[in-house]
């Protein structure tokens, strides 16, 4: 005989207009006031590069982050391949960004600062926008942490980056995009202005916390290199096609609906490989050569009057 679920299984506590939670207002993209980008641009092109440390001895709480160790200890193959991205791959990517005049942001694990100080100082000299990306890829934010433990993780991540770059950190991307029920509240309390964990929109929107509003920035998971190449096992050619198709579509939609965003989340350990870097170059060349594309950082995007506090 079947085990019945709880007798209250068919009670629906949040069945009402809007969302089933209090985190943001229900709003359809096409209903909003059109956004005007600088210079009449139609699509803001935001590239974010993840600079990550995957410990060799993950605890995996509450799970192992995508890209984390998957073989018995010591899983040197995956450990060193992830390091490859920060040693080799990222410099190929920086050259490509410079060549196509794209200004990426860098979401950096706090643990990177001690491990790759040269890389951090190179990014500081370039003046790129640095985004906090938690402590490392095995320090996930989740409901099993006490609020104090999670606050400490956030604080350490932000402090280490601010110290290394001498600039305030405004943005946040959680490792594996995982959150505890309190993460947005704690981020706001620690001075974060925007975060990019939620993938429910293609334009910035207001996210409510107990300490005031955060801006939720759209950073597509479906178009990211790791998702398409490593998880879906699509070809490199297909990744380029998908980026170009997305760009074409958004340019067309923006002509009728106001400014749109094309966001790419990239990993040096994926796209920085010798056999893949030309595909990144191809995608950057295509997107940046379209008229109406504005390569922009999160900071520049959020300066738009539509997103004023």
């Amino acid at each position: 005989m079947a085990t019945p679920p709880d007798p209250d299984y068919l009670r629906y506590r949040h069945r009402r207009h809007g969302m089933d939670h209090q985190r943001y207002a229900w709003s359809q993209l096409h209903e909003r006031e059109p956004v005007a980008w600088p210079g009449g641009a139609r699509v803001a092109f935001w590239v974010n590069v993840c600079v990550q440390f995957f410990p060799l001895n993950p605890r995996g709480a509450p799970f192992t982050a995508p890209g984390g160790m998957s073989m018995p200890y010591p899983d040197l193959r995956h450990f060193s391949l992830r390091d490859y991205g920060n040693r080799v791959g990222i410099f190929r990517m920086l050259d490509a960004f410079d060549r196509w005049r794209v200004k990426p942001s860098f979401a950096v694990n706090g643990a990177i600062i001690e491990r790759a100080p040269y890389l951090l100082s190179a990014l500081r000299e370039r003046g790129d926008e640095i985004v906090a990306h938690g402590w490392d890829m095995d320090s996930l934010h989740h409901g099993g942490l006490t609020p104090m433990e999670e606050t400490d993780l956030i604080r350490r991540s932000i402090d280490s980056l601010e110290e290394a770059t001498g600039r305030p950190v405004r943005g946040w991307l959680s490792p594996a995009r995982n959150e505890s029920p309190l993460t947005p509240d704690l981020l706001k309390e620690q001075g974060i202005a925007w975060f990019a964990d939620w993938v429910n929109d293609e334009m910035p929107y207001r996210f409510l916390t107990r300490a005031g509003d955060l801006w939720a920035m759209p950073l597509s998971n479906e178009l990211e290199d790791r998702f398409i190449l490593m998880q879906n096992l699509h070809s490199e050619e297909s990744w380029v096609e998908q980026v170009c198709d997305a760009c074409d579509f958004l340019l067309k939609e923006a002509a009728e609906s106001g400014g749109r965003m094309l966001s790419l989340n990239l990993h040096p350990w994926v796209l920085g490989q010798p056999h893949r870097i030309a595909r990144l170059e191809q995608a950057l060349e295509y997107v940046t050569s379209q008229s109406g594309v504005w390569p922009a950082t999160p900071e520049e995007i959020l300066e738009n009057p539509s997103f004023r506090a």
């Binding site: 079947a2 085990t3 019945p4 679920p5 709880d6 209250d8 299984y9 068919l10 629906y12 949040h14 069945r15 009402r16 207009h17 809007g18 969302m19 089933d20 939670h21 229900w26 709003s27 359809q28 993209l29 096409h30 209903e31 509450p62 799970f63 989740h142 409901g143 099993g144 995009r177 995982n178 959150e179 505890s180 029920p181 964990d197 939620w198 993938v199 429910n200 929109d201 293609e202 597509s220 998971n221 479906e222 178009l223 998880q231 879906n232 096992l233 699509h234 070809s235 297909s238 096609e241 998908q242 980026v243 198709d245 997305a246 760009c247 074409d248 579509f249 958004l250 939609e253 094309l262």
Partner: protein
């Protein structure tokens, strides 16, 4: 548990009574956008976890919310451009959460069929009475918000019991999308003896199966849709077939996937002899014109093969 619920009889795909769709069409083509609401914090079900990650599963929840915030409008306009009225597989609670979407679809004369209350509330483990309550709640709610009682059912998250078909037929439904055994409508046996049928809905053409389970590339999805159509269109000359594209506004409506869908839909609707229609219209036409001959043909073939005549 039983080895087979005996919902339908074996019925070989040859020498069937010839179906001709309205206007002499050889294929009935319908698109079924799933418009779903997933809860951030649904109650536990002993048989199936609603989310793979612990609460809050930000990734799983937020991409589905993307479908309603961003994707729906895009897909609706795409279908409108190609003269297609969607047949919505609807989480009934969406009538309360997002009535704006319901109104926009109703304005285009789309069909709404039932897909349960939430896609995070499963049929598994419900008593017969509980399942009846859920089925009636969804039908009442959709009727209240759209003015028409739904005719079809796709069980929430494709979760079923042994009595799902019986209960839906008893509630006045006429078709199910839950069975994938055929490329034509077929009779489905229900305990009350109602004239109840299965309409081909297709798991293989379902965008979520293609993109999430089979992880295929967008352009390959487009070419699969065209190949699927080509064969069913060719076979439709000897007996009308049905092709369905089941979609999800959080999959097909991503900017990097829309071109593949639009090309395939343009290709399909560019042919003569395609009846661009809805699930309900297919069901009603089949019931009115072919149901009896199908039942008779199934019986005749079973007897000719020496099968039992019960």
């Amino acid at each position: 548990m039983q080895p087979d619920l005996k919902l339908y009889d074996y019925w070989p795909y040859r020498d069937r009574p010839r179906i001709v769709w309205p206007g002499g069409a050889r294929i009935a083509f319908w698109v079924a956008p799933n418009i779903e609401f997933y809860e951030l914090d649904p109650p536990a079900n002993p048989y199936r976890k609603p989310w793979p990650r612990p609460y809050p599963d930000v990734g799983g929840y937020s991409i589905r919310d993307y479908g309603n915030r961003v994707g729906h409008e895009r897909q609706m306009r795409l279908l409108e451009r190609h003269g297609i009225r969607g047949s919505v597989s609807l989480s009934a609670a969406l009538c309360e959460h997002h009535p704006e979407i319901i109104e926009a679809c109703a304005e285009l004369d789309w069909e709404f069929f039932s897909h349960g209350i939430y896609n995070t509330r499963y049929t598994y483990g419900l008593s017969e009475e509980q399942e009846r309550t859920m089925i009636l709640d969804a039908m009442d709610s959709i009727e209240k918000h759209t003015g028409r009682r739904p005719a079809g059912y796709l069980a929430p998250a494709l979760s079923h019991s042994e009595h799902t078909m019986d209960l839906f037929a008893e509630a006045g439904g006429i078709y199910t999308c839950d069975l994938f055994h055929d490329d034509q409508p077929t009779p489905v046996r229900v305990r009350g003896g109602q004239r109840f049928i299965s309409i081909p809905y297709s798991l293989e053409m379902n965008d979520t199966i293609a993109y999430v389970v089979n992880r295929i590339e967008p352009r390959r999805y487009g070419s699969m849709l065209r190949d699927n159509f080509d064969r069913l269109y060719a076979e439709g000359e000897t007996g009308g077939t049905v092709m369905c594209i089941p979609t999800h506004n959080y999959q097909v409506s991503c900017p990097h996937r829309l071109a593949a869908l639009e090309q395939a839909i343009g290709y399909i609707t560019g042919h003569d002899g395609v009846w661009v229609t809805t699930g309900r219209e297919i069901a009603e036409y089949f019931l009115a014109n072919y149901y009896d001959s199908a039942v008779e043909d199934i019986r005749r073939k079973r007897e000719a093969a020496g099968g039992d005549t019960a």
